[in-house]
């Protein structure tokens, strides 16, 4: 549905083909990419993107890009990218789709949890692996980790049924499903608020790709920036493209995707993007709070110079 991902990443007729490994299936999360393609922004830059849907949900994106199976990667959360770089993978971040950590702890508005301190002694649900983040929240708040972890599957069900007091969710997914199901908005404690800021869907490549396909990458970022503005202006467009074209076969519904995209577009902008443009990733943010949060989570970190290369975005800002 999204232009086969196996053509060689070679330029034909001056157009450079980039294979993009996404962290998730082609739903509204990636509307900027669809807009950039369908409105011809990418073509203008002589770039073609072959989107490879993800879904394995296991931080494999870094490995896939490192192995050369894709040119560009977008993973769920920048911390896994940083950890991979620290582990010796020759990767580098060149931007990010969303400015916020979209992970949050969701609780029943009748028994709201709005601070880390309130998590003490509670049952917290979430996907496998997220425990390390909870530990970090306690540590960052100067507390001993004290909670029961409940490994839940997908969906807001465990919170609705009262199996857990708080549930780790995506603010753009389960939080909306909770509202749809129960009719009331859940109380959210975002990971950022709990001391774990992050960028969502960081855009990264290998250091070699950055060197060899610099122009194409720059073109891609430029197109995505333009598309970001369109996306914010009309969230329904990206949703429609996802349902009808790029995510056809995934059995998406327009209503659902529109609702989601409305939630997503809020995170394209931030104070930093006002001055530096969309997709911006701030070195200080990484070397500061993000690295601090990762250290608290027990993750390996690296120097920001190895993690981030803002030169492309800088050039676009000037040009």
């Amino acid at each position: 549905a999204c232009g086969g991902g196996d053509d060689d990443a070679s330029s034909s007729g001056g157009v450079t083909d980039l294979k993009v490994q996404l962290s998730w299936i082609t739903d509204a999360s990636f509307s900027q990419l669809y807009i950039a393609d369908s409105k011809g922004y990418l073509a203008d830059e002589k770039v073609k993107l072959s989107l490879i849907p993800g879904g394995s949900d296991i931080g494999a994106i870094e490995g896939i890009v490192a192995s050369g199976a894709a040119d560009v990667g977008m993973s769920t959360d920048i911390t896994s990218l940083i950890a991979a770089i620290a582990d010796g993978n020759p990767l580098v971040c060149i931007g990010a789709l969303y400015q916020e950590n979209l992970n949050a702890l969701m609780s029943d508005p009748a028994k709201p949890i709005t601070s880390v301190a309130q998590l003490k002694g509670k049952k917290i649900g979430g996907n496998q692996g997220v425990q390390t983040k909870f530990d970090a929240m306690f540590k960052l708040a100067g507390l001993e980790p004290d909670y029961t972890f409940v490994p839940t599957g997908y969906g807001p069900d465990p919170l609705i049924k009262g199996d857990v007091d708080a549930l780790a969710v995506f603010v753009t997914d389960e939080a909306l499903a909770y509202q749809d199901t129960t009719g009331k908005a859940p109380t959210l404690l975002t990971f950022t608020e709990a001391g774990l800021p992050a960028y969502t869907e960081p855009i990264f490549v290998t250091t070699d790709t950055l060197k060899n396909k610099r122009d194409a990458l720059k073109g891609m970022l430029s197109a995505l920036k333009k598309a970001s503005a369109d996306d914010i202006a009309d969230p329904a467009l990206g949703a429609k493209l996802a349902v009808d074209q790029y995510g056809k076969g995934n059995d998406l519904t327009l209503e659902h995707e529109t609702e989601h995209n409305k939630a997503y577009v809020k995170f394209i902008e931030s104070a930093a993007t006002k001055t530096n443009g969309y997709l911006w990733v701030d070195p200080a943010e990484i070397s500061g709070p993000i690295v601090k949060g990762m250290k608290a989570s027990g993750l390996k970190t690296a120097d920001v110079s190895k993690i981030l290369d803002t030169s492309l975005l800088e050039e676009l800002k000037e040009g």
Binding site: I58, S67, S80, G88, Q128, G129, T132, G153, D157
Partner: protein, 280 residues
């Protein structure tokens, strides 16, 4: 049909030859040689595998996110051997528990489906339903039934391991030796007697085949379940190491689980050989 594995025949024959060639006084030498052969059989696949892995990582300049160097993983294993013992035992306990539950369930369901065509049809559909869905899909429903603890993991393991037993036992129960059915008719055997004294012994060889499949499936199932929703064990360690990009640890966990599989397979195969001799 007396199912006598040709391997057994051949082994017996080879044994005869060895017995003739070597006078009894050289018994220890023979035992040593046989032990040596066993070691060779056990070790060459590992050497081949690690060799291929090392070569691939080196030649392909594979980044650690794809595959770490075997040396790194082995080093990690050696340094943290102690810490893996607990995890391995934890996983082993779940595997054994789930396998026992699964094997019993498989045999019981096969027995039920032996009793009538209706039962067979009513069992087959739902049984198949449990098999063709990914664990992650059914976990939420199971967790609702059995809680978010170890019991659900045992149930998942059992669900994964019962099916081969069901399928092979159900066919095995109908694979009676030539003439035996007639014998039981003539003796005026009731259903129950026919089941216990004819169908069950007849099914043994097939169930043994199933056990060899199931034991390995059970390890994989436990790993998967712990990976999806465990709070301890090798599968849990694997997911945590993975999400934290501790690649060496993640791979070390996998290696330990694979070793566990191989050992359990060897144990079950050995038991199978003994039982097979009894029932052929």
């Amino acid at each position: 049909m007396t199912v006598m594995s040709q391997s057994a025949v051949q082994e017996a024959r080879e044994q005869d030859v060895v017995d003739r060639a070597l006078p009894p006084s050289r018994g220890t030498g023979r035992r040593l040689r046989r032990a040596g052969a066993a070691v060779v059989h056990a070790v060459w696949p590992l050497i081949a595998l690690f060799g291929a892995w090392a070569l691939w990582v080196r030649a392909g300049d594979v980044p650690p996110a794809v595959a770490p160097k075997p040396g790194t993983v082995l080093e990690f294993l050696a340094e943290n051997a102690g810490s893996f013992v607990g995890d391995a035992l934890n996983t082993l306990a779940v595997v054994v528990g789930g396998l026992v539950v699964g094997a019993v369930a498989g045999v019981v369901l096969a027995a039920l489906s032996w009793t009538s065509q209706i039962a067979r049809a009513v069992i087959n559909g739902p049984a198949l339903l449990t098999q063709c869905l990914p664990v992650a899909t059914i976990t939420p429903v199971l967790a609702r039934l059995f809680g978010y603890g170890v019991s659900t993991i045992v149930v998942i393991t059992a669900l994964i391991s019962f099916f081969p037993v069901l399928v092979f036992a159900a066919t095995g129960l109908r694979q009676t030796p030539a003439g035996a059915d007639d014998l039981f008719v003539v003796l005026g055997a009731g259903r129950w007697t026919r089941f216990w004294r004819l169908a069950v012994p007849s099914a043994v060889p097939r169930v043994l085949v199933a056990m060899r499949v199931s034991v390995v499936a059970a390890v994989a199932g436990t790993m998967l379940a712990q990976w999806v929703m465990g709070t301890s064990g090798l599968g849990y360690r694997l997911i945590i190491a993975q999400t934290s990009f501790r690649t060496a640890e993640a791979w070390a966990s996998s290696v330990v689980s694979i070793v566990l599989s191989v050992l359990l397979f060897a144990v079950v195969s050995a038991i199978c050989r003994v039982v097979e001799k009894r029932f052929s």
